[in-house]
Amino acid sequence: MSAPTLTTTEPLVHIAGFRMDFGRTTVIRDLSFDIRRGETFGFLGSNGSGKTTTIRALLGIYQPTAGVLHIDGRPFSPEAGERLGYLPEERGLYKKESVIDVMVYFGRLKGLGAEQARRWSRAYLERVGIGDKEKVRLDKLSGGQQQKVQLGVTIMNDPELLILDEPTKGFDPVNRRLLMDIIDDQKRAGSTVMMVTHQMEEVERLCDRVILLKDGVSRAYGTVEEVQEQFGGTILHVDHTGDLPSSAAYRILSDDGGHAQLEAADGADPAAILRSLVEAGAGVTRFAPTRKSLDDIFVEVYGAGATEED
């Protein structure tokens, strides 16, 4: 679960009745959700479900067909004064310029002084392990190093709202953890984080609330626990020595070498299921009820064909 923060119910992002048509194709239909100040919000969905479109409309890059998309009570404008950090899915910076020049440029555009931006950039580059690259042109860096620079540019103005579109895409596990630590730090510092990701373990670890989008329609919305609750289905991990009998109280998802996963039917009591298994002589040696993971829910909602990466 995420680090403790001062989460309030007051929304920083408010989206209501959002609809987006491209030509005759409707990409988003009547989408409504809020992101509260200080929370980390998971924006989930398979490819083409409308996540990036929603973010672009929220940031004024696309004009919505209908609906309200507000940040801090008004439509977003670069000069409205909100401290925004946006890491788009399409990564890119001025590749022919040096790392420090690009960081200072964006720092200046985000309202920092030149020296302040330079000091911050150097400290950040040291932290992410590329302190010796400040004078290197961006196109001479590896893809992962470029992403670190871009993340630095995103957070350098200490943003109130941090929007990260697949922030860990292309990172190895070590750098993924480093990035998650940085996001945690931002959250501790009071940032509200909106995160698009396909990594469900990250969502479970970091996010306070999530929304699942499919074909431009919200399929689930609430805290991680509420979403798990909504999709019901307690999963029972059962180690056994005998045969598992069929029952209307559960469905056998897998049974391999004495290790089985059962999905409890709606309203079924796990304790009653255990009792029935014992009475049926299944030789139960371990019985562990768990909730469905977000990963399971994701596969259930989008089907097994949903890809992990764009």
Partner: protein, 417 residues
């Protein structure tokens, strides 16, 4: 904040342009060529003058006959000449190697040819014979005149000063045209050398996928205005670099380069012409920059945008071809058409202005037209950049963006929905 961001964009764009090797390579090519060409001209002129002097002053024994009576025997003797009576004898002496040369002066050297015979000394050295023959004739005639002033007049060493009058007042000549022509040269050089950069200035954001970061950080109007101003500043640097060799050549190597002896103090800076010239230059620059920036916003890559640059150059060059018309017949329909069509107006109007054929009312119309259209084009460019540059891989349909109602544009193919 907006002003701060504008100055930040200007500084960033200017610095990164002028610190690029490619920029200096392109910028320095012209001055280096001018310097190289100037050096070649100087070397060639010096060599030619030296050779001419050497040949004119060459001393060798020769025979001559003089039907004109103009050749002074004393002068001829100084040149090494010996007079003979017969043409045939002179030619024969040359043929058998008895003398290096023979000159046969006709009765009227002004209308008849002086015949020169000599032993072959090679293509270049052979010209010394005619050089000496001419020099001897000139020296003999000058001796006859026997007056330095008359000699100078005959040699053509005379300076003239022309004053013409228009409406009862002395009319300015070329000295009044040249200062205003500087705006024409500046416009041409800036568009030709910076046009490609203008085109690429927004393409870079697109090709580098930096558009989304930029659009959420700075107002696109500020970004594009910042780019235009920085390009203008870069253009001034380029003009200064281009002008340097010309200035050095004029100030220090005028004689060697055989440049006209032009009195800079005589230049006439007509305030109206200068102000009109400057405004047309700025308006034309803004129009072309805005147009190229807009094109950059709708093209996916520099390669796709390149053909558009040819069209721009075409628009700049066409009025230059018509410049003869503009000078001699400024009221000709074709000239007037070119003067009012926005993309040919800057060059045409700058020519008309320099030559005093652009009345103030027409200048005002053209300037207003250029500035108004620049604002419109720049607004369109901002709109195209805002809604078009997000299309990373496909060409944007201008109609979709300009007639944009919410959500009319097609989604990006790569951006994910």
């Amino acid at each position: 904040m907006a002003r701060h961001n504008l100055s930040t964009v200007i500084a960033f764009e200017f610095r990164r342009t002028v610190t690029k090797r490619r920029f200096w390579a392109i910028t320095l090519i012209l001055p280096i060529l001018v310097f190289g060409l100037g050096g070649l001209i100087i070397a060639s002129n010096v060599s030619t003058a030296k050779t001419a002097d050497q040949q004119k002053n060459a001393r060798f024994e020769f025979l001559y006959s003089d039907a004109s009576g103009l050749i002074d025997p004393g002068v001829a003797k100084e040149y090494g000449g010996t007079k003979i009576a017969s043409d045939a004898e002179g030619v024969e002496e040359v043929q058998i190697g008895g003398t290096p040369a023979y000159f046969a002066y006709p009765a009227d050297p002004a209308t008849q040819t002086v015949k020169v015979y000599g032993e072959d000394a090679g293509v270049f050295q052979n010209s010394k014979y005619s050089a000496v023959a001419q020099s001897l004739l000139a020296a003999s005639v000058e001796k006859k005149v026997d007056d330095p002033t008359d000699v100078a007049v005959l040699r053509g060493d005379v300076n003239t000063s022309t004053t013409t009058f228009k409406d009862g007042k002395p009319a300015p000549g070329f000295e009044a045209i040249l200062p205003a022509l500087i705006f024409l040269a500046a416009f041409f050089v800036v568009i030709v050398f910076l046009g490609n950069q203008m085109l690429n200035s927004t393409l870079e954001e697109k090709e580098n996928r930096v558009t989304e970061m930029i659009l959420t950080t700075i107002n696109p109007t500020n970004l594009l205005i910042g780019k235009v101003i920085s390009l203008f500043a870069v253009g001034i640097i380029q003009l200064a670099v281009f002008a340097l060799p010309m200035l050095v050549g004029f100030l220090f190597f005028r004689d060697q380069l055989q440049l006209p002896n032009f009195d800079l103090s005589g230049l006439v800076f007509d305030p109206q012409k200068m102000i009109v010239g400057a405004l047309i230059l700025i308006g034309g620059f803004a129009l072309f920059t805005g147009t190229l920036v807009a094109v950059g916003a709708i093209m996916p890559t520099a390669k796709d945008a390149a053909p558009v640059f040819s069209v721009v150059i075409f628009a700049v060059v066409i009025p230059l071809y018509a410049s003869g018309f503009a000078i001699s017949s400024p009221q000709a329909p074709i000239v007037q058409l070119l003067a009012y069509f926005p993309y040919t107006a800057p060059i045409t109007a700058l020519i008309l202005n320099a030559f005093g054929s652009l009345p103030l009312w027409q200048a005002i119309v053209i300037i207003v037209e250029l500035f108004a259209l620049s604002v419109v084009v720049l607004r369109i460019a901002v709109r195209l950049f805002r809604y078009g540059s997000i299309e990373y891989t496909s060409k944007v349909r201008v109609r979709d963006v300009l007639g944009r109602r919410p959500g009319r544009a097609e989604p990006s193919q790569r951006g994910g929905a």
